[in-house]
């Protein structure tokens, strides 16, 4: 299941729904990205994306992970638009018979999603609004896979 949405989501609720849908599988890993605090205070966030390409990119990443690891299912939820302080930005979850597969696939999804899905974050603090710079380590992380 892949969802791109402007509405807030409840990551615990999503985890439970995902777990129920793969009941009896054994190992479930989740990653949740949260609007982080910045030096000296809270921040809000605006997430811009490229409608159409976003869904294609996420589907390609999902499909690659399903092929590489022994997975029962994958969940990807990503928000766009305006996010309040401490809200969940996105989550991925993986379900497998083997904990190693669940962990590796979740890391793979995150690494690819960071650098290959067309989302751009703008962090809004008391000092103003700034586009989050990409990190060379995020690009480097892809070389693992």
């Amino acid at each position: 299941m892949i969802r791109v949405q402007s509405m807030p989501f409840d990551s615990g609720g999503e985890l439970n729904t995902f777990s129920s849908s793969v009941a009896g599988v054994g190992a479930i890993v989740s990653f949740t990205g949260v609007v982080r605090d910045v030096e000296g205070g809270l921040s809000n966030m605006i997430i811009e994306h490229y409608p159409g390409m976003t869904e294609k990119a996420l589907e390609a990443i999902r499909s690659e992970a399903m092929q590489r690891w022994d997975l029962a299912d994958i969940l990807i939820v990503h928000r766009t638009g305006l996010l309040e302080a401490h809200e969940s930005i996105m989550m991925v979850a993986t379900a497998s018979k083997h904990r190693k597969d669940a962990f590796e696939a979740a890391e793979f999804l995150m690494d690819y999603l960071k650098s290959r899905a067309p989302f751009w974050k703008k962090e809004i603090t008391l000092d103003g609004a700034d586009w989050v710079a990409s990190k060379s380590e995020d690009e480097d992380a892809l070389s693992r896979w």
Binding site: E48, Y50, M53, K114, A117, P118, F119, K121, E139
Partner: protein
């Protein structure tokens, strides 16, 4: 063709998308053409190593050919997740 801009590329150029008439053969040719048009393009495309490009929603290199392409998108490296 439709040309789309995202993130600070959009902010520098001032529009999210526009129709562009061009005979450019590759993405790099299109970039050169745009840079000569107006200063805002020149500024936005000053350092293409800081940019990414997608043709019809697939990431490509700047030397990719534009033949048959409907949609070109320019943007900085992604920062989702």
């Amino acid at each position: 063709m439709q040309v789309l801009y995202f993130s600070w590329v959009r902010e520098r150029i001032g529009v999210p998308r526009e129709e562009v008439q061009t005979n450019a053969v590759t993405v790099a040719d299109l970039v050169s053409e745009l840079r000569e048009r107006e200063e805002r393009y020149n500024v936005a495309f000053a350092d293409v190593s800081a940019l990414r490009v997608a043709l019809d929603q697939e990431l490509v290199d700047f030397d990719a050919p534009l033949f048959g392409v409907n949609e070109v998108a320019f943007f900085p490296p992604m920062t989702g997740g």
